[in-house]
């Protein structure tokens, strides 16, 4: 039993190691500073590990990882802050130092994506990762038609924002 658990753990760590890029990308997009990024990474890794026994390998590890990681990012709620109304906290402000290590295109793209809401971020993230409309629809729980309509709108929005930041 102990040996089996150890094997599962090693297997999980190997898989995660191979797909750390996915983790980094999702955490990067859904955070506004390094601290938030670390917190989100921690939560995603925890949820991945907890749900790993139910991963039946019907899909690729990366597909499953996207699903769990996005589910975690979208269902993570902010803590209430005393004396500050939530609407007073600007959601689109982020630490300028945060994306410094990235190339110029990614910095601009990040600034644009950060203006989107959580669901729009998930859709554009999956599109950037070359996922099909069917996969995006399945991951989020929308119709394929809805995904295509939303993507057109999101892309237009992103283009506008990129032009502004260029």
């Amino acid at each position: 039993m102990y040996k089996e658990n150890r094997n599962i753990k090693t297997e999980f760590l190997d898989e995660l190691d191979r797909h750390q890029g996915i983790l980094q990308k999702i955490c990067f997009v859904y955070s506004r500073n390094s601290l938030e990024k670390e917190d989100l990474c921690q939560e995603i890794i925890l949820q991945l590990w907890k749900s790993y026994p139910s991963f039946k390998r019907k899909s690729a590890f990366s597909t499953w990882m996207y699903r769990v990681a996005l589910n975690t990012a979208l269902s993570l709620t902010k803590k209430p802050q005393l004396f500050i109304k939530t609407e007073d906290i600007p959601d689109n402000s982020f630490d300028i130092e945060y994306s410094m290590s990235k190339s110029e295109d990614i910095k601009i793209l990040y600034r644009a994506i950060y203006q989107l809401n959580k669901v729009e971020k998930a859709i554009i993230l999956l599109w950037l990762e070359d996922k099909s409309y069917e996969e995006i629809a399945e991951t989020i729980g929308m119709s394929v038609k809805n995904v295509s309509v939303r993507l057109v709108r999101i892309k237009a929005k992103i283009k506008e924002l990129i032009k502004k930041y260029q």
Binding site: L13, L16, D17, Q20, G21, L23, Q24, K25, F28, D39, C41, Q42, E43, I45, L46, Q47, W49, K50, S51, S54, F55, W64, R67, V68, N71, T72, L74, S75, L76, T77, K78, P80, T86, S101, K102, S103, D105, I106, I108, L109, N117, K118, V119, E120, W127, L128, E129, D130, E138, T139, I140, G141, M142, N146, R150, K155, I158, K159, I162, K163
Partner: protein, 241 residues
């Protein structure tokens, strides 16, 4: 003006080296695997555990009062009722704890997951919040019984204005605790509802969320009325001559 091509940004995204270079070490990953969850389920599980511990301590406290008031059978019965109530609440909290949804079913999509969370928190978790708020009233009653024991060695007789003051403190204690917890609970659930509304792209009034909001408010009112009436009857029962 040249049309902006998003495909260029897509290529840059896919080839960005920093995403693959900024790797977490195995040690750090293993540390994260053992950490406590900060998501809504984790937060509510934590609050349930705290309440279960408080109610267990309160049960022991009422048990001790049975020993203190050993020659006064009516007070012993009252304390036994409180122990029963605390244990009953603990059992309900444990049942709710076990039903807290998680991400174990990884086949579910984001929309289904958010629905399952909202459905659970509006249907079942409201009861848990009310039970949890009951702790402050129990704590006050237990404290008062200790005070009476050490000062008079019995429960002194109450005048009508005493009933009013004592009853008001017990009810205000409950309502204040319920208010804070419900406010905190709604803050989190609203964020989930907003996420769902973003997916559905409907106004909350048009969607199923409206139904959940109605259900939530109805449950809150019913449970609170039952509990406040129960508390007032208990006070009358304890301090009746």
């Amino acid at each position: 003006m040249e049309e902006l091509n998003l495909e260029n940004y897509k290529s840059a995204w896919k080839t960005e080296q920093s995403f693959f270079e900024e790797k977490l070490s195995r040690d750090k990953i293993q540390k994260f695997m053992q950490s406590a969850s900060k998501n809504i389920s984790g937060l509510f599980k934590q609050s349930l555990i705290i309440d279960i511990i408080i109610k267990t301590l309160l049960s022991f406290s009422f048990g001790l009062l049975i020993v203190f008031y050993s020659n006064q059978s009516r007070i012993q019965i009252i304390n036994a009722v409180f122990i029963f109530l605390a244990i009953f609440c603990i059992v309900i909290q444990i049942k709710i704890y076990k039903k807290i949804p998680g991400m174990k079913n990884t086949d579910q999509n984001i929309k289904t997951l958010l629905y399952s969370y909202i459905d659970f928190y509006t249907r079942k978790f409201v009861l848990s919040l009310i039970i949890s708020s009951f702790s402050s009233s129990l704590f006050f009653i237990s404290g008062t019984l200790y005070y009476f024991y050490f000062k008079y060695e019995t429960i002194r007789s109450f005048q009508y204005d005493d009933y009013l003051v004592f009853g008001a403190i017990v009810v205000i204690g409950f309502l204040l605790s319920a208010f804070v917890q419900i406010k905190n609970f709604k803050f989190h659930v609203n964020q989930l509802e907003n996420g769902l509304a973003e997916i559905e792209q409907e106004s909350i009034d048009e969607s199923k969320l409206k139904h959940y909001k109605k259900l939530n408010n109805r449950n809150l009112i019913i449970y609170s009325i039952i509990l406040v009436i129960g508390l007032l009857l208990l006070i009358l029962f304890i301090f009746k001559k």
